[in-house]
């Protein structure tokens, strides 16, 4: 099969690149090994969590940081593009791209982020605010007493949903009859507080509608508290983006183990997907590599040797002592700096390939944990790399 551009990786970065390019009328394929890490994320969009103001904090990021290659205007526009897309397709995000805010976590602490799904709009609980928590009988991976430990005036009500997993409860919420009985139960609880928090189970597919119905019928404000994976808000984010891409004509290759590729005259010609039966060969004029960092499998560290797993590109790696004479769980561990170094038009430096563009957390110096910029960086570098790839094939 032949495409204009093939995107490798179906995470935030790859999907945003593919959506942008498909909207330009190009024939796009996304190739992925499996579902991305964003599907187990909280669904919130971190842009830069090191100060009150997102874009201003970026000024202080090290000069090698990929954000500087996109520029503040590019960052703002691409995340606005994401926000508009989600709103158009019914999964609106709340918040100001330029500002940070907080959400309540399941251990009662705050977490800084920028854009949040509508279901978390009211999760910016202040220090001595009094709110109510609804939990579920026997639920795994959510312990409301952690929150009560910090917010001691919180009341907790427990609903018996007849199942004990977040996925199971969320699937039931999508059912109108179940939702009605849940709402009736809430009314019977005579909750005094205006704000009600609950684990993130407000439906897998119908969350905006469920939230609206809850608030209309009870007169309360509800907010979701993200849970351990499986993460329902993460599933919503991933499925919505993939659905948007599919709707714009993007072709998907899944469960794809890229075993080989062919290059000629500094250009990658095609990639080979190995699978039982015959392999698939996928041709394109340009490729975008958005396979993520170590957890996502884009990078691999084996006995001190750093590898990029698809094209064996040169990888920037911090020196040995820096790497191992450290507390591994310390924020800002140097291993976070490793990745692919790019030039100004998002091509891998010294790779020798002219039609290969790089995006997302595989980029060197991104340090997404230290700077709390994961999804924001993925979106903005995804769109930026897509623009450069489009320019290249023109």
């Amino acid at each position: 099969m032949k495409y204009d551009i093939v995107v490798i990786g179906s995470g935030m970065s790859g999907l945003m690149a593919s959506i942008y390019l498909a909207e330009q009328g190009l024939n796009i394929a996304v190739v992925s090994r499996g579902d991305p890490i964003c599907s187990v994320s909280s669904g919130c969009i971190d842009i830069a969590g090191t100060g009150d103001n997102t874009l201003d904090s970026i000024t202080n990021f090290p000069h090698e940081h990929p954000y500087h290659k996109v520029g503040k205007k590019g960052i703002f526009e691409s995340i606005q593009y994401f926000k508009d897309l989600m709103e158009e397709h019914g999964n609106s995000y709340s918040g100001d791209i330029k500002k940070n805010r907080t959400i309540l976590t399941p251990i009662g602490k705050h977490r800084i982020t920028s854009l949040v799904p509508l279901t978390m709009k009211h999760a910016d609980i202040s220090k001595d605010e009094i709110f109510h928590i609804i939990s579920f009988k026997g639920i795994k991976d959510f312990f409301p007493s952690y929150v009560k430990g910090i917010f001691q005036n919180t009341d907790i009500s427990i609903f018996d949903a007849g199942t004990h997993t977040t996925m199971g409860i969320a699937a039931k919420m999508d059912n109108d009859n179940f939702l009605s009985s849940f709402i009736e139960w809430i009314k019977s609880q005579k909750i005094k507080q205006k704000k009600v928090g609950l684990p993130a189970v407000l439906g897998i597919t119908k969350s905006p509608w469920i939230l609206k119905k809850l608030e209309l019928e009870t007169g309360k404000f509800f907010f979701e508290i993200p849970t351990l994976p499986p993460s329902v808000p993460g599933i919503r984010l991933y499925r919505r983006l993939k659905g948007i891409a599919g709707g714009k004509g993007v072709s998907f290759y899944g469960s794809a183990d890229i075993s080989d590729f062919k290059s000629e005259k500094n250009k990658i010609q095609y990639i080979t997907i190995k699978k039982p039966g015959r392999p698939d060969y996928i041709d394109a004029k340009a490729f975008i590599l958005a396979t993520g960092s170590f957890v996502s499998g884009g990078l691999f560290l084996d006995k001190n040797i750093f590898k990029e797993t698809v094209f064996n590109l040169p990888v920037y790696a911090p020196i040995d002592e820096e790497l191992f004479n450290q507390d591994f769980f310390k924020l800002g561990h140097p291993i976070e700096k490793s990745g692919i170094i790019i030039d100004k038009d998002f091509k891998a430096k010294e790779s020798g390939y002219n039609n290969l563009f790089i995006a997302g957390s595989i980029l060197a110096h991104s340090e997404t944990m230290k700077f709390q910029c994961g999804h924001g960086m993925a979106i903005s570098t995804g769109v930026a790399a897509a623009k450069d790839a489009q320019e290249y094939i023109r």
């Binding site: 499996g34 899944g254 183990d257 699978k275």
Partner: protein, 406 residues
Amino acid sequence: MKGSFENCIRCTICVENCPVYKVNPEYPGPKQAGPDAERFRLDGIETVDKWITHCTQCKRCDFACPYGVDPSKLILNAQIRYVSKHRKTLPQLLFSNFHYIARLGSLFSLITNFITSQSLIRKLFKLIGLRGDIPFPKFRFKTLQRFRSKSVRTPIDRIMINKPKERKAAFFHGCYLNSNAPDEGRMIISILEHFGIKVAVPDQVCCGLPALGNGDLVKAKRFAKKNSNEFAKFINEGWDILYSCTSCGHTLIYDYPEILDTDEGELISKNTWNLYEYLLLLKEEGHIKFDFEPLKKVISYHIPCHLRGRGVPYPAVKIFKEIPNLKVHIQDINCCGFSGSYGFKEKNKKTTDALGHIAVESLEEHSPDIIISDCGACRMQISNFTDTRIIDPIQVLFDALGLSGG
């Protein structure tokens, strides 16, 4: 590296994709049933419990896993072991022998269809662990095999006379298309012939999936051997194998190399094609041209799990894009919950019904004129929840090619 359970990092992405976990609190999900439990199984500790049979083998976990673990394969092996250590239930015995049931059912179709529709018999079904509340598929006397004239099912030496450059397809129809939906099978053959492809319908038995799914590896192997012997002859004479039933196809491509101990498994796997993938490739290479009549319809396409698992862009959708005025909505997030023989068992009723509801609700979201699905079992299940017409995608192609008129 592929397939090793040690690659599992417990991210729970598989769990997010498991339809059974979503609706059945008794099932711990693919992470625990697969790689987690495997560690104990390797140590010889018995962890296999009854809940292992809750898995439908939809393979969505394999498809979702970013680390190359195939939880469904680990679970299938545990299921086979569970069944081998316990007395087989009647439904398990029945469905691992579905091939014979389908053949007999067709031969005595009048009697079978009459009996299976009687309320007393249906109560009896429930007693032996089968569902009595959903219709049993109707068997057809004039099977696809019976319909094809003897001259097409020629012995291999007559086939050799063919011109070498001719496109030749040996059709693997499987049980459902043969015994229950032979009309669709005939449409497939006439479409292939319309595009100048020579079609043969070789002698064949069940692909073996129902036997595998009901824990009978020996029988699955026997079926696989029989089919691969016959089809290998065709492949060696330059024929390609085509399938339309996505579960049969998945078995031929993914399971034959593993369950057969001969090289023939690989040979079958390499030369087997999804019908629409094949047509699409012929078109890309310029051998055939699509010339469709407009079809003013809104279609919801329920993607069967085993088509999704192929990991290629849905080939029928790519073909349908060229039919003027046709609007296709893809629905691949939900498993219909039926999973072949799984859905006929009384013990799975709750899971199957809950998933059927979810799937049909999203199929009807766009108020379609028709619903389509490649898989006969999916169609059966969906028809239990909706009045919308549900057909095989081949019928859409048949209409768009103007073949239904003449």
